[in-house]
Symmetry: C2
């Protein structure tokens, strides 16, 4: 059951491993979202181990994370003969499906139809806080939310202004794309850009490891900033370059069949 040694694979895994504190449960969420999101898809305990341990994560840590994900209602586990299998619950699948369009979108969305919702000082902020829970709004400051799509009609206590053109100052760019996010994105760009094209002969599990790492890094960048047109991007924003690099690599690492993950390498 030992994977073939592959220096390209080992180097690339090292480069892609998130330099920040890696949360195993979050890696597993990325893995299921990428490899086993559809209904009925199952990943064996063995496959999970083969995909995740090359990242330097111990089997014990995987067990702890699976326990936590079961407790949180994301994952269920079952026995299949002597082996265990794991799969997303309905809840886990719906959570995963909710963010997949943004993670796997090859072209940056450029929503139009902007509007501003503006609250009264003090009193109005409660309504605004509700609005900001919706995914199509971002906070401009304590009393202003910027959203796209139609203007809601029910928000009597907010001033609503349909917007035809916006000039975005530096402080707002920095607020929407804060420094830790810009840094994470620049680091991802740097890591992705220096990966040579994948060689032939990767095992399905190795492909799974690489895809999981790429999707995991990208997920933590793409889901932490709102879909906004280029005029909102700071000058040093590497998000769109990252997006291109992510899909170039994923295209070279096609999704393995789940059944192939359990086939021991020849």
């Amino acid at each position: 059951m030992n994977e073939q040694r592959n220096p390209w694979f080992e180097t690339t895994v090292q480069q892609l491993n998130d330099p920040q504190n890696q949360r195993v449960w979050s890696v597993i969420v990325s893995l299921f979202g990428d490899l086993a999101q559809q209904k009925g898809a199952q990943v064996s305990g063995g496959a999970l181990t083969r995909i995740i341990t090359p990242m330097g994560i111990k089997p014990e840590a995987i067990r702890v994370a699976l326990h936590r994900l079961r407790k949180d209602g994301w994952i269920e586990s079952a026995r299949s003969g002597r082996a265990s299998v794991h799969y997303l619950t309905e809840y886990g699948r719906s959570q995963s499906a909710a963010v997949s369009p943004r993670i796997y979108e090859r072209r940056a969305a450029t929503p139009g139809n902007w509007h501003l919702l503006i609250a009264q000082d003090g009193a109005g902020q409660a309504t605004l806080d509700e609005v900001l829970l919706l995914s199509n709004y971002v906070a401009v400051n304590r009393t202003t939310a910027l959203g796209h799509g139609p203007v809601p009609r029910s928000l009597d206590d907010l001033m609503a202004a349909e917007v035809s053109r916006i000039a975005v100052p530096g402080w707002l760019k920095a607020r929407l794309f804060p420094e830790p996010l810009r840094d994470a994105c620049a680091a991802l760009q740097h890591d992705l850009a220096r990966i040579p094209p994948p060689p032939a002969g990767l095992t399905p599990a190795q492909t799974g490891t690489l895809r999981t790492l790429i999707v995991h890094r990208w997920r933590r960048v793409v889901l932490r900033h709102p879909d906004l047109p280029p005029s909102f991007h700071p000058a040093d924003w590497a998000g769109e370059t990252c997006r291109d690099l992510v899909f170039q690599l994923l295209d070279q690492l096609p999704l393995p069949e789940l059944s192939a993950l359990d086939t021991p390498p020849e």
Copy 2:
């Protein structure tokens, strides 16, 4: 030099007299703006007394107010034989000319081309405070100014959004047209509406008294609120009704010749 008794005149003056604390210097500013704004226009001390004393203001109070207006650079006084004459300084005339278009506008302006300027919490408010000194801006809240006309290009630290449609909540209407202003406006409407058409035979000075009172009351309403389209008006806003009543009355009280003010009544 006694004016003819005219019951209509006396009743109307009483109705138009500002119920609020009357500032004599401010009445004189209204008077010069209406009767003697053009370069070279002079009002004799006698004419001033004949126009103002029917409002219940004593000659001594007129002298004090003229002294103050001279000290503030609004008015100059000169001797003409045994009589004194008073006229606006360059400064006083330019101040008066700056607000005349708004006071004497018969149709409510309906500016289009709206934009919002939005400041960062805290830091950005200084720039916004500067912007709010301009006459084409109103404050929406502590970080937002609404303006009309072209978007300024120099305000790098404000978010600028050109606006194509606005829904105005109640709190903003109340902020732009606060209760004391709405009350003053409703009172003016009430007072103007119950004035019967002016009878024939008013003296030029009586016409001056009435015009000054009307302009003075209207000035204190029209200059205290921004030019905003009807969608910004509170439901009980009487401003536009007042405007109509003001010009109906002024049209029936044509501006007297300055020379006629010094002709003793037959």
